[in-house]
């Protein structure tokens, strides 16, 4: 018998037994759809956690002078003046440090800031344009400090929103106005977006000025308080830390790492927490997916096996009418493949649709995991085909009359 013939016979058998076909396909749709949806929800959540951590600067390394790391105990920092702009430039240009994306040299000092009416004590930060990227700073109005400002030592300032309301009052537009810091007048060219946080560590209560202006005109120093580095990705953090460490040791003519006149701090702690959180999450997800697959698989198996009695008789009859064993097995296998394939496509469609709707209505990330689609489809199809084929081949091996009498 030709395969095309068998194919159409399978199709017509499926079409004739609509309820059976529908139930079996439904089992597969649910099996695949639920796994895809659950995995996608999980991955969307995972992604949003990662994004939140990233906004803290998960890839951030900070080089600070003066503290000595000993057995994990970090001493007081900033005492020394060993870090220079040349160090920062070297880190960026060195061929030994390949995994650094951006370098932001910084100086900072608390100073008094005044306007005509009010004054405040706030953190003055001398920065280069790279600061914006490294610290994920966002500008709500105006611009950030440019390389030109740094090169030509202009007197411009970018203010944090808290500083703006401290100095100018709630909701004021400070762009174009001026502030005075240790006798020098700065024009305000931008305001940053509020990042949250409060008190001493608040990133919103700051005044950013060009690095050179801060060093030479406000603080009269040549050193840096810190160099912030952005690594290319979370995986190379440790490598970057080591590479930068060796580079700076060499530059500072030090051979013993224990005597280093600088410290490199990473957000490793946050990252560690995040990884363990993500790990737990992944385990949880795998568990959920496994259960969904199991339930879906049992559903498919059930409907395939429930029809065995009827189908065994059908096989007996077909054999009695002259069907060869191969023909019967091909037909049943074809039926199972068509069924699982169509059910699989519908399942993938509904899985993606459900994930999309979830993302849409909770305004979270819409993530589709292709590995989950693959896993769900392969497992469901294997189960469908196995439990479509196994009883069929057993029945096909019976004498026709035994199959006809099967109960």
């Amino acid at each position: 018998m030709l395969f095309s013939e068998t194919f159409f016979e399978s199709l017509s058998t499926l079409a004739v037994n609509k309820l059976r076909t529908g139930l079996a396909a439904l089992g597969i749709v649910i099996g695949i759809g639920s796994v895809i949806t659950l995995m996608s929800l999980g991955q969307a959540t995972q992604k949003s956690i990662q994004t939140q951590i990233q906004s803290l600067g998960a890839n951030l390394l900070t080089v600070q002078p003066g503290a000595i790391r000993q057995g994990g105990v970090v001493g007081a920092m900033g005492g020394r003046t060993s870090l220079t702009l040349d160090d920062a430039k070297a880190i960026l240009s060195s061929s030994e440090v390949a995994t650094v994306k951006t370098v932001s040299p910084e100086v900072e000092r608390r100073m008094q800031v005044t306007t005509g009416k009010s004054n405040a004590n706030t953190e003055i930060v001398g920065v280069t344009p790279q600061y914006e990227e490294v610290h994920k700073l966002e500008i709500s109005s105006g611009n950030f400090i440019t390389q030109r400002d740094v090169d030509s030592m202009t007197k411009v300032a970018v203010l944090g929103p808290t500083t703006v309301s401290n100095l100018f009052g709630e909701g004021a537009d400070p762009l174009g106005q001026t502030i005075r810091v240790s006798g020098k007048t700065f024009t305000i060219i931008g305001v940053t977006v509020a990042k949250g946080g409060s008190g001493f560590m608040s990133q919103d209560d700051r005044v950013y000025v060009p690095l050179t202006t801060a060093q030479k005109q406000l603080m009269g120093v040549r050193y840096l308080n810190s160099i912030a580095l952005e690594a290319a990705n979370p995986e190379v953090m440790t490598d970057t830390q080591n590479q930068v460490g060796y580079l700076l040791l060499a530059r500072h003519n030090l051979s013993d790492p224990a005597k280093a006149d600088f410290t490199i701090m990473s957000q490793q702690d946050i990252l560690n927490t995040a990884s363990s959180m993500t790990q737990t999450f992944t385990t949880l997800l795998s568990g959920i997916a496994a259960i969904s697959l199991l339930v879906g698989g049992i559903g498919i198996m059930n409907i395939m096996l429930v029809t065995v009695t009827e189908r065994t008789r059908e096989i007996g009859l077909r054999k009695a009418l002259g069907a060869k064993k191969k023909t019967i097995i091909t037909q049943f296998l074809t039926e199972a493949v068509i069924l699982t394939f169509v059910g699989g496509i519908i399942g993938v469609f509904f899985g993606i649709l459900a994930s999309f709707l979830y993302a849409h209505f909770t305004s979270s990330a819409f993530v589709i995991s292709f590995s989950s689609i693959l896993l769900a489809s392969v497992v469901s199809i294997l189960i469908g085909v196995l439990f479509g084929w196994y009883p069929a081949q057993r029945a096909a091996n019976l004498q026709p009359i035994e199959a006809l009498r099967y109960e």
């Binding site: 030709l2 008789r313 009859l317 002259g322």
Partner: protein, 233 residues
């Protein structure tokens, strides 16, 4: 001769109990015979019929069909025999459920690669022959018992088999319908088909030219035109 069985036995085992459904049965059937097998229920009629139809295998004994030892045939060869050489009419009709009469009749032709157009034409012809020309697209549950039986007969005839085996072909149908069915059988027999049927109704058996009586798995009487004999106890 077209069929020769010798010392055929069939034993069913149900747990500890052994049931001898057939016990040392031997007979021969010539081409073109019309043979009825009679006997009370449990006498082994159906078992014998299933073995003759290559639907089941005997526990021991030999079955020669058209010069070939059936026991030695492969699965595929047996399928071919069931498809082309033997037409089987089941007592329970055994039609594919939810499938039209026409499609049911076309199944055996599908398994021997008769071209599609030819298949449909032949199926229609045979359904008309058994008086169901107006029931082509009815599913079995829309047909009466007699009509289903006639669909089953049409199905058994489509491959033009030299042997027609019928297990109680009139068992579940009304008398007037039974007569119609038997007339179809007579016509077929006249056209040269060998017919073997099981019945427990003497009036139906009347249509046959030869009657074999079975009891407890043994032939107790065979009024065959050629070998009228009493079988040993």
């Amino acid at each position: 001769m077209i069929i020769k069985v010798s010392h055929l036995s069939k034993i069913y085992k149900t747990g500890e109990v052994e049931v001898k459904a057939l016990d040392d049965v031997s007979f021969e059937v010539e081409k073109g015979e019309f043979l009825a097998i009679m006997g009370p229920s449990g006498s082994g009629k159906s078992t014998l019929m299933h073995i003759l139809g290559a639907l089941d295998k005997p526990t021991s004994g030999e079955y020669i069909l058209d010069g070939k030892n059936v026991e030695k045939l492969s699965d595929d060869e047996l399928a071919d025999i069931r498809n082309k050489k033997i037409g089987f009419v089941f007592q329970a009709y055994n039609l594919l459920p939810r499938t039209t009469a026409l499609k049911n009749v076309m199944v055996p032709m599908m398994y021997s690669d008769v071209p599609k157009a030819e298949r449909e034409k032949r199926a229609k012809d045979f359904l008309e022959k058994v008086g169901l020309g107006d029931r082509l697209y009815h599913a079995p549950n829309q047909l009466s018992g007699g009509q289903q039986q006639r669909v089953a007969i049409a199905r058994a005839l489509t491959m033009n088999p030299s042997i027609l085996l019928a297990d109680e072909p009139t068992g579940n149908i009304a008398t007037n319908q039974a007569i119609e069915v038997m007339e179809i059988f007579e016509d077929l027999n006249e056209a040269g088909h060998t017919i073997i049927m099981i019945t427990h109704e003497p009036e139906i058996a009347e249509y046959a030219k030869r009657i074999i009586h079975l009891r407890d798995g043994r032939i107790v009487e065979d009024n065959g035109n050629r070998h009228r004999r009493k079988v040993r106890k």
